[in-house]
């Protein structure tokens, strides 16, 4: 998916961008409102991540202009303000959602997914591979014409594998992607989700292979 990140703090922007590229997304970075407008005019983005306090103005004026134009690219506002004061203000101005800094990357991902799901039709992101049709936004997986809606953690697990086919993931690495850092996750939990995903993938050419002592890998038979 293609994102536009409007954020004046370069370090934060770099960190967020590199984390998102890891998930296989394309991300452009604008430091000013002026650049952001130029990017929006030329690029076709699935989603805009917008900081509120920018050097050349308030992100909210950008929001207003953006809403006034014909573009309906969804916008998620990144705010560092107190929860109590201006969360509601940015929603009123037409942001689709907001997230408070500092944020859990998984939460950002979850919010992006929720916003894209609400605005479905905008993003056609189905992945077809090895006999499956997977829509990560809707969380829908169909194998041989039989559809199933995945739970959030199953869906994220499948995404991780589909983004890096053939790569081996240790249980710990998967746990870090799936759970928030304050959850005390036993390695059993990962096995449970792997087990469920295997069941969902039955009948396709895709399978998850256990490599004893190393972890798991998605294999494409055929």
């Amino acid at each position: 998916m293609k994102f536009l990140l409007v954020e004046d703090n370069r370090a934060l922007a770099d960190a967020v961008a590199s984390r998102m590229r890891l998930d296989g997304h394309v991300i452009d970075h604008a430091e000013k409102l002026e650049d952001a407008s130029a990017f929006v005019a030329t690029g076709d983005y699935d989603l805009i991540l917008l900081d509120i306090m920018l050097p050349d103005g308030d992100g909210r004026t950008f929001l207003e202009r953006h809403r006034a134009s014909d573009l309906d690219t969804p916008v998620i506002v990144l705010t560092a303000r107190s929860q109590v004061s201006d969360r509601i203000g940015s929603l009123d101005l037409g942001a689709d959602d907001y997230i408070t800094k500092p944020f859990d990357h998984a939460e950002l991902e979850a919010r992006c997914r929720a916003v894209l799901r609400r605005k479905s039709g905008n993003a056609k992101t189905t992945i077809e591979r090895g006999g499956i049709v997977f829509d990560p936004v809707a969380g829908h997986l169909s194998v041989g014409g039989v559809g199933v809606t995945l739970r959030n953690r199953e869906l994220r697990l499948l995404e991780v594998f589909l983004n890096a086919p053939g790569q081996v993931f240790s249980k710990q690495k998967l746990a870090d992607r799936l759970f928030s850092y304050d959850d005390d996750v036993s390695e059993n939990a990962i096995e449970v989700y792997i087990g469920r995903l295997r069941k969902h993938l039955e009948g396709s050419e895709l399978s998850i292979t256990t490599l004893r002592g190393l972890g798991y890998r998605l294999d494409h038979a055929g």
Partner: protein, 455 residues
């Protein structure tokens, strides 16, 4: 806290008393002045008549062949006739020897000059006004001094004076009544200006710190000016503290966000397990500090808002539905279901931002302690008191700590390993308190913790 001002005296009373007291004093002085003047004028009138009468008697006297002849003219007595039939006495002396009249009427004048002498004295049981006058008669070979004393009772005079006194008294009383009425009117219209100012200050909402613009009398302008300047300073310092909290949040959160994002990105790249463990601890520590910082600032903002709370009508169910929608993506990460139960609409008057923040803290807690793929139940029932209950399917509150958990920074024994500041329940309690309510902690029979916000 509202401190009642120390009251010392009353402007209205002081003004009324001063004005009415002044009026009474003035009325009395007016009465005295009129009375004295009237007495003087009346006395003068009687004296003039007595003088004219005495003069005509003396004029009628003559010295013929060395013998004094006094032919008392009728007119001398006629002019002394009064409506009250005052009595008239006279005595005539020749060089100090009694000639005629009443001998108990002695001469009291002076022979050194020609001026007549007057006095008021008692005579035969009545107050009389007396005149003594004399005239030197010169004959061919003799000169004698003829002295005359004339006295008249004062019945007519006192009747006249009585009438004048009554009129003067009536005048004084009317003057007093009029002045008193005017002083009351002046007082109440002056006080009215003050009262109007008081009313318009009292009627303002707690958030209204704009300057006072209605026209006021010149004397009150300095008061209004200092009032306006006070409100200006208050407004400034209030908005400054609000801005400060927002700015502080921004300053703290942005660098934390940077560190966290870097740490997360790095964690995905490194393979060595001990490095990964270090990164995880780092992220956990960042979460801990950012959550604490955030909640401290929220707590400050909430205390600030609660202090000057402005209630407004809104639908609690609507508010909760919005909140659930906002939190849904976070719940989804753990495959939690957020279920909202209860009445379709619960109208309530309060501060929606405060209540939303309190319930958000309760739901955050429930999502944190509830196991994956469980449900968080939010129930709202109309009151009074309105009850908002948030229940999870987690381990529940430790029974022996349930009373302690709402104190600031207190955390349950079983909270180990969870990121938290211990301020969530404090915030909820403060918000409930600001709305005149409280919070209740309990455990479900089937397992799980419940927190009820009573408003």
């Amino acid at each position: 806290m509202q401190d009642n001002p120390k009251v010392s005296g009353s402007l209205r009373k002081r003004l009324v008393l001063t004005l009415i007291g002044g009026a009474a004093l003035l009325a009395f002085l007016l009465f005295l002045a009129v009375r004295n003047f009237a007495v003087q004028v009346a006395q003068q009138g009687q004296d003039n008549i007595l003088f004219a009468s005495a003069s005509s008697m003396l004029d009628a006297a003559s010295l013929r062949d060395g013998v004094v002849e006094v032919d008392l003219p009728y007119s001398a007595f006629a002019m002394l006739t009064t409506p009250a039939d005052d009595r008239v006495f006279y005595a005539i002396y020749e060089d100090g020897t009694f000639l005629s009249g009443y001998d108990d009427l002695p001469f009291f004048g002076s022979l050194d000059d020609d001026r007549p002498r007057y006095r008021t004295a008692q005579m035969r049981g009545a107050t009389v006004r007396q005149i003594s006058a004399h005239r030197t008669l010169i004959g061919a070979n003799r000169r004698i001094n003829l002295q005359i004393v004339l006295a008249q009772t004062q019945d007519a005079l006192s009747e006249t004076l009585d009438r004048i006194f009554r009129t003067a008294a009536l005048l004084g009383v009317s003057f007093f009544a009029l002045a008193a009425a005017m002083s009351l009117w002046v007082t109440s219209s002056t006080m009215g200006q003050l009262n109007r100012l008081t009313t318009s200050v009292t009627r303002r909402g707690p958030q209204d710190l704009s300057p006072f613009r209605n026209p006021v009398p010149q004397e009150m302008a300095p008061l209004v000016k200092s009032l306006n300047s006070l409100m200006g300073r208050l407004d400034h310092s209030l908005s400054q503290s609000e801005d400060f909290i927002a700015e502080a949040a921004h300053r703290v959160r942005t660098p934390l966000a940077t560190v966290r994002s870097y740490a997360e990105a790095t964690l995905q790249r490194v393979d060595k397990e001990e490095n990964r463990e270090a990164m995880r601890s780092m992220i956990k520590a960042i979460d801990e500090s950012s959550r604490t910082a955030g909640q401290l600032l929220d707590h400050a903002m909430i205390t600030f808002r609660a202090d000057q709370m402005e209630r407004r009508e809104f639908d609690l169910v609507e508010l909760l539905r919005e909140l659930v929608l906002q939190l849904a993506p976070i719940a989804e990460m753990k495959d939690l279901a957020l279920n909202l139960h209860g009445a379709p609409s619960v109208p309530y008057a309060g501060d929606p931002i405060l209540i939303q923040n309190a319930v958000r803290n309760l739901i955050d807690n429930a999502m944190k302690y509830g196991p994956a793929e469980s449900a968080v139940d939010i129930t709202v029932t109309a009151g009074p008191p309105v009850r908002i209950t948030v229940c999870d399917e987690g381990p529940g509150f430790p029974a022996d700590e349930i009373d302690r958990l709402t104190t600031r920074f207190a955390r349950g024994q079983n909270a180990e390993g969870k990121v938290g500041s211990g301020l969530g329940l404090t915030i909820a309690q403060d918000v409930a308190g600001a709305h005149g309510g409280s919070i209740e902690l309990s455990n479900r029979e089937e397992g799980g913790a419940c927190v009820t916000l009573l408003l």
